[in-house]
Symmetry: C2
Subunit: 319 residues, 2 copies
């Protein structure tokens, strides 16, 4: 059974070093149920605590408003994107048995190894296991946005850039990251989930079919808008302005909409027939059923404008 590791004790010397009295705590939604227990831990040590109640989707989504009110912000369960003096990133790891990789059968002999943040810390061990079995294993460092060897984000697959491996093995839960990896590399991608021990080859045909339908639907719409995020690590205003300019050159008018959290509830107030999302790519890819209108990625909007062919479909990345 995979065990979860959250080491709060190790934060205490860091707080002391920074002479902190007031601390903020920011957690992803899935961990917010622990907020009371975490707050109590620090309050029992004499700290004043304020919990960030807003949704939190990653280290791209630092609560800078809360940071103004506290001495130190503890950001839990994401690897750093922005290194700020008063922000301490507290990792939250899933522990799992690397022996499981002794039974995995991959026909290709050279593999690029990737994982999401909670699983990436054990990839060097997984690499050893696979190498002992005769596989050639690639475990690389990506851009500055991903801190661990082999780590991918929903918006970053740079650890796979120029990969020479024949296939990719993703370690983690969910299908989103391995789908992104397959579109990124156009290679065979396998997925192993240490939680349910499921191993499978990842297919993207259905995913791409849905994306194509979204683009067609947007093409038929009269008017769209480009979403720009307020979040520190999702804000791509110059990309949005560039897309607006390109659209205008093709006589297509689009408005710019500035948003923090993007949800069906905020977008339904507008009458636009589609949105182009320059914020977190997962909003376009993952939440497609929630929205009544298409949410395109920047690359998909280029396709709508006739500036990119279907063969050049690329996954949206923030580097």
């Amino acid at each position: 059974m995979p065990r979860r590791k959250l080491d709060l004790e190790s934060v205490l010397p860091e707080l002391e070093k920074r002479n902190a009295k007031k601390i903020g705590i920011q957690l992803p939604d899935g961990l917010k149920y622990k907020s009371e227990q975490i707050a109590e831990f620090f309050e029992s040590k004499g700290y004043e605590v304020i919990i960030s109640g807003s949704h939190c989707y990653g280290a791209c989504d630092l609560d800078l408003e809360l940071l103004k009110e506290v001495d130190v912000l503890l950001h839990l369960a994401h690897t750093p994107i922005f290194e700020l003096e008063r922000v301490i990133y507290v990792p939250y790891y899933v522990d799992y048995d690397v022996e499981d990789f002794e039974d995995i059968e991959i026909e290709e002999r050279s593999i690029a190894l990737i994982a999401s943040a909670q699983y990436a810390w054990k990839l060097p061990e997984v690499k050893s296991v696979l190498e002992k079995r005769g596989y050639e294993v690639e475990l690389k460092r990506g851009s500055n946005r991903v801190k661990m060897l082999g780590q991918v984000l929903g918006c970053n697959y740079t650890v796979l850039r120029n990969s020479k491996a024949e296939a990719v093995l993703f370690v983690g839960d969910g299908l989103f990251h391995p789908i992104g990896a397959k579109i990124y590399t156009k290679k065979k991608v396998y997925r192993f989930c240490p939680l349910d021990k499921e191993f499978e080859e990842v297919k993207v045909d259905d995913f791409l079919k849905r994306r194509y339908l979204s683009i067609s639907k947007a093409m038929a719409a009269e008017r769209g808008a480009i979403i720009v995020s307020k979040k520190i690590g999702q804000k791509r205003l110059s990309l949005a302005l560039d897309l607006k300019r390109k659209a205008k050159e093709r006589s297509k008018e689009v408005e710019l909409i500035y948003l923090d959290d993007i949800s069906p509830q905020v977008l339904e107030n507008f009458l636009y027939g589609y949105f182009v999302n320059t914020a977190c790519p997962r909003i376009s890819y993952d939440d497609i059923e929630l929205y009544s209108v298409p949410i395109l990625t920047p690359q998909e909007f280029e396709m709508l404008l006739g500036l990119r062919s279907w063969e050049d479909y690329e996954v949206d990345e923030i580097l």
Copy 2:
């Protein structure tokens, strides 16, 4: 038929005076469907436009993030709370026939006249009509948060402070403001809606019964949290800290939660049995059916703590 007035032409000289090139547009959710048309108007005059997509609940909720990206922010349909050099408030009035007030029968002879922002601009005319009919009419100025004579907000009834009138007449739609006025004054409150010409005396028994049920439910809960708003005009951190301190003195532990938009979706991630809301009072009062746990006002939390009696029930105000 009431007509709505939105005067965009009058904004143009103001923009020129400020030498603006990029403008932001912020509208309440109910007007966002007009954003495209408004953006087009300003774009046709050569301005670059970014629309605020976030929910907008009042002038308490200025989009300061958008203000960083533009020269001038146009904030529509609310009267100013914060006078900032680069924010232009664009009024949005509902026009209505003051002759309707010739038929309204109020038994009390002295009346305090109040209205919400979109209706308040015609209160001086309404006053004349009523005075001609022999009523004594009070139309007063409130605190700095309300700019027009007789204007009330969901969080501000200061135009009724020390009122000597026997009864109150509210002009506008919805029941929220007149209910607040009745709790505030403990006098008879009438409501006239110029849209549907409905005239009625406002009752608060059901409202107060629901509030009492919320407080009882919260009393039975083990643990609660106090919500502090990030919004410029809703942020009451020192009030929240004060409530936390009072609770602690009575051996009741509550955490502080910092939030921008408050919704069932963000709160459902937490396990607290109740919340104390120091943000917009309407969240506690209006949205009660949306939340699975009680959302108390600061005054109601004082009742929970045994610091205030039921007879001293007061409507929550931000002054």
